[in-house]
């Protein structure tokens, strides 16, 4: 079995395994690079900003792997999109106090090649992530968006949607599983 067969939680948990941590994180990066770039591109609309924010998101993920707790199904993707959302919010607020993980880890901001720029421009029209999320059944889509993007807890969502908490959990879980399958197929 290779790292590419590992689920997100196992890849992130490999942080403690000598000789595995770096390769595992690279596979995690490969798995979500486009999804995170698309997420930022759709929010900020600039390829250069989206590239910076993607880099910052992954730098924070790398720096903060020790704090990752595999608490439940899809913890990896939820955790990563949580970081992306925070990075995006900070960008919008233009916070001068922002602690850059890129600076901390001495990682250069990525250059945006013409190919990357074209690919990111396509995200606005034809985002894999957007397509994947849009393609979910309406209830699952709503649960995924509100839980992952808006960071509502299961309890809050259950109250807002007027359904029991286990039902919300099931919708989010099924939605994320379907999204992950589609992302893997498109990779």
């Amino acid at each position: 079995m290779t790292f590419t067969d590992w689920d997100d939680e196992r890849l992130l948990a490999a942080r403690e395994s000598p000789g595995q941590a770096a390769e595992a994180f690279t596979v995690f990066y490969d798995r979500y690079e486009r999804a995170i770039a698309a997420f930022h591109m759709r929010r900020c609309g600039s390829a250069h900003d989206a590239a910076d924010l993607t880099a910052e998101t992954f730098a924070r993920a790398l720096d903060g792997r020790r704090r990752f707790a595999a608490d439940g199904k899809d913890a990896g993707i939820r955790w990563l999109f949580g970081i992306a959302r925070l990075v995006g919010l900070e960008h919008v607020r233009r916070s001068g106090q922002r602690q850059s993980a890129l600076t901390k880890l001495q990682i250069e901001r990525p250059a945006v090649s013409p190919a990357a720029s074209d690919a990111m421009a396509e995200f606005l029209e034809d985002s894999t992530v957007a397509q994947v999320v849009e393609g979910l059944p309406p209830r699952q889509r709503e649960a995924v968006l509100r839980h992952v993007i808006d960071e509502r807890s299961y309890r809050e969502l259950a109250e807002e949607l007027g359904v029991p908490e286990p039902v919300v959990r099931k919708r989010v879980s099924r939605g994320l599983a379907a999204a992950r399958r589609s992302l893997k197929e498109s990779a």
């Binding site: 290779t2 790292f3 590419t4 000598p18 000789g19 941590a21 770096a22 390769e23 994180f25 690279t26 596979v27 990066y29 490969d30 690079e33 486009r34 770039a37 590239a51 993607t54 880099a55 992954f58 730098a59 790398l62 880890l105 001495q106 990682i107 250069e108 990525p110 250059a111 945006v112 190919a115 990357a116 690919a119 990111m120 990779a187």
Partner: protein, 270 residues
Amino acid sequence: MTALFPELREQLHDVAVALEQQAEQPSTSPRWRRLPFAAAITLLLLGTGGVATATGLKFWAPDPGVTETGIKRQAVADPPPWESAGQFEIFRRAQAAQDQSPQAAAAVRQAGGPIYSRTASVRRLSTPDGFEAFVIPAGQTRKASPSDSVCLWVRRTTSDSSGILCTSWAEATAGKLHLSLGPQLDEDAERARGRERKRLLAEMRARGDASPPVGKARYLPSETGFTVVGLVPDAAGAMTVNGHPAVVAGNTFTATIPEAGSIVTRIKAK
């Protein structure tokens, strides 16, 4: 699918490796700071791969394939750690056309562990007739690090059988990077042995007996023993392999031993 930001991917990987090493070795002092003054001067004089680029040969970047775990590997011009590689004459000379042959590219592809293959530093070893060998430095980070490794690929040209072994630079400088290749099989005799075994099997099955005894492999009469081919630093004078004298030529040693098994090398300094 190609990465949108390949440099970012690479930097993240390098930082991840560095963090991993930091976790394993709490010392924060960079290795070069602990080098004695003379060694530091040697490093400065040797430069970092400058010799190779000064020859006019373009950076040779064959496709290194994927790692054993399925990660895309990369060919890089960055040199191996010079405090170790500098002990071998082959790395102090420029890379030549013979170091960039299709066989060298095949050897690079087989060194499938580390992410980075230092292809500007691949060198062909001088070997006895009937053998071909290449040394392939490799690493988990783009820049040389203490975790770097070095691989030895050896091929028997007469039978096209080959093998590769990777180890640390510390082992390599101690003469412990070597491969042993068995005698060449006598193919005609082996085919005859196969036919005989098949006939015996049929007879025994008919009688309801157990499987026939396994015969010994037949080797060419000219072939005696196992040939050990290895890498040796410049400082080596005489050398033995399992007590048998080895021939040291340049940075290669070869020896013939009667039986396969564990190999013990002993080096006497010049």
